[in-house]
């Protein structure tokens, strides 16, 4: 890979880390607030309220950190998998600057307290137009990233008409095919409802229709975050752990199934919304269970691959192999720990998706408990693990300290275990999410929230330590590490190789067609009904 290409990928990752340093720094303030330690008064000149801090935490972590990391990592995975230069380096940099302009606008709106709307964009809450325009530019950026990746693939395909696409590249393509369809919902919400309302062009907007558009994208976006982690788990981790991928064809099958199945599930976020029929909610509940299937497949393949690695390294017995994995390699340790936390998060996700069981947990602290184990751990800790080899590869500088990186992975694991346990527990006791719980008027009436809140606070404190270990490790590697890195891009061989994969898995038109049909079944009746009863209400600023 050429130096200019490495530089482009590296800059996407640097911006991702910068975003994480902003977003995650604010996290412990929320956790400590729940535990009864309110530090917001000390942030007053910069952060005026708990809710402003939480809005920044959400946007910078879950949108900017993930999107920039993914854009860099999947561009990298495409080039390195195909061993083919990027279609257009110039387009890559134009995309980068469009996205920077986007986070500049959104960041300004957030930090000036003009967009304390939480990251969910639910009208009639009205943020400054800069907030919505900025996020729109970031989404447009992801479309341009995908265009560059697709064009690179097309150029490679012309010279290699019959070859199987390398697995890492295959995963990058599946991710962006899925995302380009899924992001149409948020585009519809922003362009037709939120931006006109925020400029005052329209008097108001229909909050229920906006929620339907939002969740059209809002559930599949979690697969946009997760599939790049799967790319690493499938195509790279088995090699790094010292073994082989168990089954390449089933890895492809799992990845490709996310294209049709990840989109018609969004109504499961609206189980408790009035104005949407129970029947369509039930359809989405069933389809959400279907999309669990490729993740269950992934669990098997990954466990089998890790077992393969552990046994190759001398592990014996039912569980002995697990302890023989390369636990001294931070890239492996971080990603295996991420998988464990993700498995726990997946189970609480099934409960969220379970139609009426959801009534117990909807909008309680259970939900942030769930996504701190999935996005906050499964995805984020994996991305941290990836950066422990990818940043040295891109910069040519050896990882500054392996020991610090290992401490970072384990402290993240411990912190998330406590935080996740605390939040799930609080949720079962009925504590609401996105709420300044320590200051809540009903806090004293719920003394049983004390112990789980303490777990949340302690977990958040440990996570703060872990975050700074990560940032110090990365900064020291980039600026101070003098030893040259000697790193090959990990490419896992497979026990059952790609030659066993039917070519149908690469017929993208088939999968796109299936996605369009299933999405239409899942959404057209509901959206038609909502449009027929369009009921706009006035936008408001309530902070």
């Amino acid at each position: 890979m050429s130096q200019p290409e490495r530089r482009l990928v590296a800059w996407f990752l640097y911006v991702a880390m910068l975003a994480l340093s902003i977003g995650a720094t604010l996290g412990p303030f929320q956790a400590l607030e729940h535990a009864g330690i309110n530090l917001y008064p000390y942030l007053a000149p910069f952060i005026r309220s708990y809710y402003q801090g939480l809005s920044i935490h959400g946007v910078f972590n879950v949108l900017v950190w993930t999107t920039f990391f993914i854009s860099g990592f999947l561009t990298f995975a495409t080039m390195s998998g195909l061993k083919h230069p990027l279609y257009s380096l110039k387009l890559g940099w134009i995309t980068f600057w469009i996205m920077i302009a986007g986070i500049g606008l959104t960041g300004w709106a957030l930090f000036s307290d003009n967009a304390t709307v939480m990251f969910t964009s639910y009208p009639p809450l009205k943020a400054h137009p800069a907030y919505y325009l900025g996020l729109t530019l970031v989404v447009v950026g992801t479309w341009l990233v995908s265009a560059n990746i697709f064009l690179t693939y097309r150029a490679w395909r012309r010279d290699h008409p019959t070859e199987r696409t390398p697995l890492a590249t295959f995963g990058a393509l599946a991710t962006f095919v899925m995302w380009d369809i899924a992001s149409l919902g948020i585009a519809a919400e922003f362009l037709t409802l939120l931006i006109p309302a925020s400029f005052g062009i329209t008097q108001g907007t229909d909050p229920l229709l906006a929620r339907a558009f939002f969740w059209f994208t809002g559930h599949p976006i979690v697969y946009f975050w997760l599939l790049p982690a799967y790319v690493s788990w499938y195509a790279m981790v088995p090699k790094q752990a010292g073994g082989k991928l168990f089954s390449d064809p089933l890895a492809r099958l799992a990845l490709v199934l996310f294209i049709p199945f990840s989109i018609p599930v969004g109504l499961h976020h609206q189980f408790t919304d009035p104005g949407i029929s129970e029947a369509w909610k039930m359809v989405h509940a069933a389809l959400t269970f279907v999309v669990f299937f490729p993740s269950a497949l992934t669990a098997f393949t990954l466990l089998a691959s890790l077992e393969n690695a552990g046994r190759a390294r001398g592990g014996r017995g039912w569980f002995g192999w697990f302890f023989k994995l390369r636990w001294d390699d931070p890239a492996v340790a971080a990603q295996v720990l991420a998988m464990l936390l993700f498995a726990a998060g997946g189970v609480s996700g099934i409960i969220n998706a379970s139609y009426d069981l959801n009534l117990m947990v909807h909008n309680t602290a259970w939900v942030p408990g769930h996504f701190h184990l999935t996005v906050g751990s499964g995805v984020t800790l994996t991305f941290m693990g990836i950066s422990y080899w990818l940043i040295p590869y891109l910069t040519g500088r050896k990882l500054w300290s392996r020991r610090v990186a290992l401490w970072q992975a384990w402290t993240w694991f411990a912190g998330m275990l406590l935080l996740g346990r605390g939040l799930h527990w609080l949720g079962l006791l009925g504590a609401p999410r996105r709420t300044m719980l320590g200051a809540a008027a009903y806090r004293a009436l719920n003394p049983e929230w004390g112990l789980p809140s303490l777990l949340v606070g302690v977990g958040g404190g440990i996570l703060a330590v872990s975050l700074y270990l990560y940032l110090v490790e990365m900064a020291a590697t980039i600026w101070f590490s003098r030893e040259p890195a000697d790193i090959e891009v990990p490419e896992a061989e497979a026990v059952s190789g790609p030659e066993h994969a039917p070519f149908l898995l690469e017929r993208w038109r088939v999968w796109i067609g299936a996605a369009v049909v299933l999405t239409a079944i899942g959404y057209v009746p509901t959206v038609v009904q909502l449009l027929a009863h369009f009921n706009p209400v006035a936008s408001l600023r309530v902070w």
Binding site: P249, D273, L357, G430
Partner: protein, 155 residues
């Protein structure tokens, strides 16, 4: 495509487990009668004072042991925020919002609904045991969100 024997079993097992869980959900809906919110009609949030039943928020007795509670959610309170019913009462809550999106969850029950401006939310619950049941707003609705709560007092 070659699929290893254990892998095949795992796939079948996953499919069976998901099917069983889904059937359990269907059973809980039709057997135990647990309801999620559906479609109950729309209102204009700017005209609530002229729109029945929201022109008269409060509790009304409909019949023996049957009550209706009409509640308006607004920043940052419920009107009314105290609802008194006798033990054993079956209460149908009619809710809507005057301004932004709110939530309504009664602690210790299955009552959980979004309260969206323009939409009517309806949920029914039978309060068997006497006591005080808190209900809280669980959707961010501005800087006073953490103060938005009320009580159902079952006597």
């Amino acid at each position: 495509m070659y699929i290893e024997l254990y892998e095949k079993r795992w796939m079948v097992l996953t499919g069976v487990a998901l099917a069983v869980m889904f059937l359990a959900i269907v059973g809980s809906v039709f057997g135990a009668g647990i309801q999620v919110p559906g479609v109950y009609g729309q209102v204009n949030p700017a005209r609530l004072p002229n729109t029945p039943p929201f022109d008269q928020p409060g509790v009304r007795q409909l019949g023996p042991g049957r009550y209706e509670a009409t509640v308006i959610a607004h920043i940052w309170a419920y009107s009314p925020n105290e609802i008194r019913v006798p033990a054993g009462a079956t209460v149908t809550f009619n809710l809507t919002s005057r301004d932004v999106i709110h939530g309504f969850r009664i602690e210790g029950t299955n009552v959980n609904t979004m309260v969206i401006p323009g939409q009517i939310a309806r949920v029914t619950h039978t309060f068997k045991k006497p006591g005080t049941y808190l209900f809280l707003c669980h959707e961010y609705c501005g800087v006073g969100h953490q103060n938005m709560f009320g009580r159902v007092i079952v006597e």
